[in-house]
Protein backbone atom coordinates (compact mmCIF):
# COMPACT_ATOMS: atom_id res chain seq x y z
CA UNK A 1 0.00 0.00 0.00
CA UNK A 2 2.96 2.36 0.43
CA UNK A 3 4.18 2.48 -3.14
CA UNK A 4 0.89 3.72 -4.64
CA UNK A 5 0.73 6.51 -2.06
CA UNK A 6 4.24 7.61 -2.98
CA UNK A 7 3.30 7.45 -6.62
CA UNK A 8 0.23 9.58 -6.01
CA UNK A 9 2.31 12.13 -4.12
CA UNK A 10 4.84 12.37 -6.93
CA UNK A 11 2.12 12.60 -9.55
CA UNK A 12 0.48 15.43 -7.61
CA UNK A 13 3.84 17.15 -7.20
CA UNK A 14 4.72 17.01 -10.86
CA UNK A 15 1.20 18.06 -11.78
CA UNK A 16 1.66 21.09 -9.54
CA UNK A 17 4.89 21.99 -11.36
CA UNK A 18 3.35 21.51 -14.81
CA UNK A 19 0.27 23.44 -13.81
CA UNK A 20 2.38 26.27 -12.45
CA UNK A 21 4.39 26.57 -15.65
CA UNK A 22 1.27 26.34 -17.79
CA UNK A 23 -0.51 28.93 -15.67
CA UNK A 24 2.46 31.24 -15.96
CA UNK A 25 2.68 31.06 -19.71
CA UNK A 26 -1.07 31.32 -20.12
CA UNK A 27 -1.42 34.30 -17.81
CA UNK A 28 1.67 36.18 -18.74
CA UNK A 29 1.09 36.57 -22.46
CA UNK A 30 -1.99 38.83 -22.22
CA UNK A 31 -0.49 40.68 -19.28
CA UNK A 32 2.66 41.43 -21.21
CA UNK A 33 0.72 42.36 -24.32
CA UNK A 34 -1.41 44.78 -22.31
CA UNK A 35 1.62 46.30 -20.66
CA UNK A 36 3.42 46.53 -23.96
CA UNK A 37 6.70 45.77 -22.27
CA UNK A 38 8.20 43.38 -24.74
CA UNK A 39 7.07 41.08 -27.55
CA UNK A 40 4.86 38.26 -26.34
CA UNK A 41 6.42 35.36 -28.18
CA UNK A 42 10.16 35.54 -27.99
CA UNK A 43 12.75 32.89 -28.62
CA UNK A 44 13.28 30.37 -25.86
CA UNK A 45 16.77 31.17 -24.72
CA UNK A 46 19.15 29.36 -22.44
CA UNK A 47 18.31 31.75 -19.60
CA UNK A 48 14.67 30.72 -19.85
CA UNK A 49 15.65 27.06 -19.67
CA UNK A 50 17.77 27.68 -16.58
CA UNK A 51 14.99 29.69 -14.98
CA UNK A 52 12.36 27.03 -15.55
CA UNK A 53 14.70 24.30 -14.32
CA UNK A 54 15.29 26.28 -11.13
CA UNK A 55 11.57 26.93 -10.75
CA UNK A 56 10.79 23.23 -11.20
CA UNK A 57 13.48 22.34 -8.64
CA UNK A 58 12.08 24.84 -6.14
CA UNK A 59 8.40 24.01 -6.52
CA UNK A 60 9.02 20.27 -6.88
CA UNK A 61 11.09 20.22 -3.71
CA UNK A 62 8.40 22.16 -1.88
CA UNK A 63 5.79 19.69 -3.14
CA UNK A 64 7.94 16.83 -1.86
CA UNK A 65 8.10 18.54 1.54
CA UNK A 66 4.36 18.98 1.61
CA UNK A 67 3.28 15.61 0.21
CA UNK A 68 5.89 13.03 1.12
CA UNK A 69 4.92 10.51 3.78
CA UNK A 70 8.47 9.94 4.96
CA UNK A 71 9.99 12.81 6.89
CA UNK A 72 13.47 12.07 5.55
CA UNK A 73 12.18 12.49 2.01
CA UNK A 74 10.62 15.74 3.17
CA UNK A 75 14.03 16.90 4.37
CA UNK A 76 15.58 15.98 1.01
CA UNK A 77 12.80 17.87 -0.76
CA UNK A 78 13.58 20.86 1.43
CA UNK A 79 17.21 20.56 0.31
CA UNK A 80 16.14 20.68 -3.35
CA UNK A 81 13.82 23.60 -2.72
CA UNK A 82 16.45 25.64 -0.88
CA UNK A 83 18.99 24.98 -3.64
CA UNK A 84 16.45 26.13 -6.21
CA UNK A 85 15.77 29.31 -4.25
CA UNK A 86 19.53 29.98 -4.08
CA UNK A 87 19.67 29.61 -7.85
CA UNK A 88 16.76 32.02 -8.20
CA UNK A 89 18.66 34.56 -6.10
CA UNK A 90 21.65 34.18 -8.38
CA UNK A 91 19.28 34.61 -11.33
CA UNK A 92 18.09 37.86 -9.77
CA UNK A 93 21.73 39.02 -9.56
CA UNK A 94 21.74 38.81 -5.77
CA UNK A 95 24.95 36.86 -5.54
CA UNK A 96 25.77 37.39 -1.88
CA UNK A 97 22.24 36.42 -0.81
CA UNK A 98 22.50 33.26 -2.90
CA UNK A 99 25.73 32.21 -1.21
CA UNK A 100 24.31 33.12 2.21
CA UNK A 101 21.25 31.00 1.39
CA UNK A 102 23.46 28.00 0.65
CA UNK A 103 25.63 28.52 3.74
CA UNK A 104 22.96 29.32 6.30
CA UNK A 105 19.94 27.39 5.09
CA UNK A 106 21.57 24.27 3.67
CA UNK A 107 24.71 24.22 5.77
CA UNK A 108 23.03 25.28 8.98
CA UNK A 109 19.29 24.94 9.20
CA UNK A 110 18.89 21.82 7.07
CA UNK A 111 21.65 20.00 8.96
CA UNK A 112 19.98 21.04 12.22
CA UNK A 113 16.64 19.70 10.96
CA UNK A 114 18.27 16.42 9.91
CA UNK A 115 19.84 16.12 13.37
CA UNK A 116 16.46 16.74 14.98
CA UNK A 117 14.84 14.09 12.77
CA UNK A 118 17.50 11.54 13.63
CA UNK A 119 17.34 12.36 17.34
CA UNK A 120 13.58 12.31 17.71
CA UNK A 121 12.49 9.42 15.50
CA UNK A 122 12.91 5.85 16.47
CA UNK A 123 14.24 3.54 13.81
CA UNK A 124 11.36 1.86 12.05
CA UNK A 125 8.88 4.52 12.96
CA UNK A 126 8.50 5.88 9.47
CA UNK A 127 4.88 6.81 9.12
CA UNK A 128 4.78 9.56 11.70
CA UNK A 129 3.63 12.42 9.54
CA UNK A 130 -0.08 11.96 9.58
CA UNK A 131 -2.74 14.53 9.04
CA UNK A 132 -3.73 16.87 11.83
CA UNK A 133 -6.27 18.97 10.01
CA UNK A 134 -7.37 16.73 7.19
CA UNK A 135 -5.86 16.95 3.76
CA UNK A 136 -9.05 18.21 2.17
CA UNK A 137 -9.61 21.24 4.37
CA UNK A 138 -5.93 22.12 4.51
CA UNK A 139 -5.64 21.77 0.76
CA UNK A 140 -8.71 23.95 0.27
CA UNK A 141 -7.32 26.62 2.58
CA UNK A 142 -3.93 26.56 0.86
CA UNK A 143 -5.54 26.68 -2.59
CA UNK A 144 -7.65 29.70 -1.64
CA UNK A 145 -4.55 31.40 -0.25
CA UNK A 146 -2.59 30.59 -3.41
CA UNK A 147 -5.36 31.87 -5.66
CA UNK A 148 -5.60 35.09 -3.71
CA UNK A 149 -1.86 35.75 -3.88
CA UNK A 150 -1.75 34.87 -7.57
CA UNK A 151 -4.64 37.20 -8.40
CA UNK A 152 -2.92 40.04 -6.56
CA UNK A 153 0.40 39.24 -8.21
CA UNK A 154 -0.98 39.12 -11.72
CA UNK A 155 -3.66 41.80 -11.62
CA UNK A 156 -1.67 44.57 -9.99
CA UNK A 157 0.09 46.87 -12.49
CA UNK A 158 3.51 46.80 -10.85
CA UNK A 159 5.65 49.82 -11.78
CA UNK A 160 8.47 47.74 -13.20
CA UNK A 161 11.59 49.65 -14.13
CA UNK A 162 14.93 48.40 -15.34
CA UNK A 163 17.64 48.12 -12.73
CA UNK A 164 21.21 47.22 -13.32
CA UNK A 165 22.92 44.05 -12.25
CA UNK A 166 26.19 44.74 -10.52
CA UNK A 167 28.14 42.68 -7.98
CA UNK A 168 26.50 43.17 -4.62
CA UNK A 169 28.93 41.81 -2.06
CA UNK A 170 31.03 44.91 -1.42
CA UNK A 171 28.10 47.40 -1.50
CA UNK A 172 26.14 45.09 0.80
CA UNK A 173 29.01 45.06 3.27
CA UNK A 174 29.21 48.84 3.21
CA UNK A 175 25.44 49.14 3.61
CA UNK A 176 25.37 46.71 6.54
CA UNK A 177 28.06 48.64 8.39
CA UNK A 178 26.76 52.12 7.59
CA UNK A 179 23.06 52.32 6.81
CA UNK A 180 21.89 49.26 8.72
CA UNK A 181 24.45 49.19 11.51
CA UNK A 182 21.86 49.13 14.30
CA UNK A 183 19.81 46.22 12.82
CA UNK A 184 23.08 44.42 12.14
CA UNK A 185 24.14 44.68 15.77
CA UNK A 186 20.66 43.71 16.90
CA UNK A 187 20.85 40.62 14.70
CA UNK A 188 24.14 39.63 16.30
CA UNK A 189 22.61 40.16 19.73
CA UNK A 190 19.66 37.98 18.73
CA UNK A 191 22.04 35.26 17.58
CA UNK A 192 23.89 35.37 20.91
CA UNK A 193 20.63 35.17 22.89
CA UNK A 194 19.48 32.34 20.64
CA UNK A 195 22.70 30.43 21.23
CA UNK A 196 22.38 30.67 24.99
CA UNK A 197 18.65 29.99 24.93
CA UNK A 198 18.96 26.92 22.75
CA UNK A 199 21.62 25.48 25.01
CA UNK A 200 19.54 26.13 28.12
CA UNK A 201 16.37 24.66 26.58
CA UNK A 202 17.90 21.57 25.04
CA UNK A 203 20.28 20.49 27.82
CA UNK A 204 19.44 17.69 30.15
CA UNK A 205 18.77 18.70 33.68
CA UNK A 206 20.56 16.53 36.18
CA UNK A 207 19.47 17.19 39.71
CA UNK A 208 21.90 16.65 42.51
CA UNK A 209 19.47 14.85 44.78
Amino acid sequence: MRIPKKLIAWIVGSAAVIGAVGLLSARLSPALAAGGLRPVAGPFTLADGIFYALAALTVGGAAAVALSRNILYSALGLLASLLGVAGLYAFLSADFVAVAQVFIYIGGILVLILFAIMLTNRIGEVNISNASMGWASAGLLSAVMLAMILVVAFETPWPVRPTGSAPTTAPLGHALLQQWLLPFELASLILLVTLIGAIIIARKEIRAD
Binding site: A20, I71, Y89, A94, L141, S142, M145
Partner: protein, 102 residues
Protein backbone atom coordinates in the same frame (compact mmCIF):
# COMPACT_ATOMS: atom_id res chain seq x y z
CA UNK B 1 9.92 35.25 -22.63
CA UNK B 2 12.57 36.59 -20.30
CA UNK B 3 11.44 35.83 -16.73
CA UNK B 4 9.62 38.82 -15.37
CA UNK B 5 8.46 39.89 -11.94
CA UNK B 6 5.29 37.82 -12.25
CA UNK B 7 7.27 34.61 -12.71
CA UNK B 8 9.02 35.11 -9.41
CA UNK B 9 5.83 36.20 -7.66
CA UNK B 10 4.13 33.00 -8.84
CA UNK B 11 7.00 30.84 -7.58
CA UNK B 12 6.91 32.63 -4.24
CA UNK B 13 3.15 32.15 -4.00
CA UNK B 14 3.53 28.42 -4.71
CA UNK B 15 6.26 28.14 -2.07
CA UNK B 16 4.09 29.93 0.46
CA UNK B 17 1.02 27.81 -0.28
CA UNK B 18 2.96 24.55 -0.07
CA UNK B 19 4.54 25.67 3.19
CA UNK B 20 1.12 26.55 4.56
CA UNK B 21 -0.15 23.12 3.53
CA UNK B 22 2.79 21.49 5.28
CA UNK B 23 2.18 23.44 8.48
CA UNK B 24 -1.52 22.59 8.45
CA UNK B 25 -1.29 18.88 7.70
CA UNK B 26 1.67 17.70 9.75
CA UNK B 27 1.62 16.57 13.35
CA UNK B 28 5.38 16.09 13.47
CA UNK B 29 6.86 19.25 14.98
CA UNK B 30 10.00 19.04 12.83
CA UNK B 31 7.88 18.88 9.69
CA UNK B 32 5.93 21.92 10.88
CA UNK B 33 9.22 23.78 11.20
CA UNK B 34 10.13 22.73 7.66
CA UNK B 35 6.86 24.22 6.44
CA UNK B 36 7.67 27.47 8.21
CA UNK B 37 11.03 27.55 6.46
CA UNK B 38 9.29 27.14 3.10
CA UNK B 39 6.98 30.07 3.83
CA UNK B 40 9.94 32.25 4.84
CA UNK B 41 11.68 31.34 1.60
CA UNK B 42 8.65 32.39 -0.40
CA UNK B 43 8.68 35.78 1.32
CA UNK B 44 12.41 36.12 0.66
CA UNK B 45 12.00 35.40 -3.04
CA UNK B 46 9.39 38.15 -3.15
CA UNK B 47 11.73 40.60 -1.42
CA UNK B 48 14.63 39.97 -3.77
CA UNK B 49 12.39 39.99 -6.87
CA UNK B 50 10.77 43.31 -5.98
CA UNK B 51 14.20 44.71 -5.22
CA UNK B 52 15.47 43.61 -8.61
CA UNK B 53 12.52 44.65 -10.75
CA UNK B 54 11.13 47.74 -9.05
CA UNK B 55 13.27 49.33 -6.38
CA UNK B 56 16.88 48.78 -7.26
CA UNK B 57 19.65 49.26 -4.77
CA UNK B 58 20.26 46.88 -1.94
CA UNK B 59 17.42 47.38 0.54
CA UNK B 60 15.55 44.20 -0.33
CA UNK B 61 18.68 42.09 -0.25
CA UNK B 62 19.73 43.43 3.15
CA UNK B 63 16.21 42.73 4.42
CA UNK B 64 16.47 39.20 3.04
CA UNK B 65 19.72 38.69 4.92
CA UNK B 66 18.06 39.75 8.17
CA UNK B 67 15.16 37.39 7.50
CA UNK B 68 17.62 34.55 6.91
CA UNK B 69 19.39 35.34 10.20
CA UNK B 70 16.08 35.35 12.06
CA UNK B 71 15.10 32.08 10.38
CA UNK B 72 18.32 30.51 11.61
CA UNK B 73 17.63 31.73 15.14
CA UNK B 74 14.05 30.47 14.94
CA UNK B 75 15.15 27.06 13.72
CA UNK B 76 17.74 26.71 16.48
CA UNK B 77 15.33 27.63 19.28
CA UNK B 78 12.47 25.66 17.71
CA UNK B 79 14.49 22.50 17.35
CA UNK B 80 15.80 22.86 20.89
CA UNK B 81 12.19 23.09 22.08
CA UNK B 82 11.35 20.03 19.97
CA UNK B 83 14.18 18.05 21.58
CA UNK B 84 13.03 19.17 25.01
CA UNK B 85 9.45 18.13 24.22
CA UNK B 86 10.74 14.78 23.01
CA UNK B 87 12.62 14.22 26.24
CA UNK B 88 9.57 15.13 28.30
CA UNK B 89 6.70 13.54 26.41
CA UNK B 90 8.58 10.83 24.43
CA UNK B 91 6.89 12.04 21.24
CA UNK B 92 7.00 15.08 18.99
CA UNK B 93 3.36 15.01 18.07
CA UNK B 94 2.32 18.64 18.38
CA UNK B 95 -1.04 17.59 19.80
CA UNK B 96 0.57 15.69 22.67
CA UNK B 97 2.47 18.70 23.98
CA UNK B 98 -0.41 20.38 25.74
CA UNK B 99 1.10 20.83 29.18
CA UNK B 100 3.38 23.58 30.36
CA UNK B 101 4.84 21.51 33.19
CA UNK B 102 5.69 17.89 33.76
Amino acid sequence: MIPTLSHFLAIAALLFALGLFTVLTRRNAVAVLMGVELMLNGANVNLVAFNKFMVGGLTGQAFTLFVVVLAAAEAAVGLAIVLSIFHTFKTIDVRAADLMRE
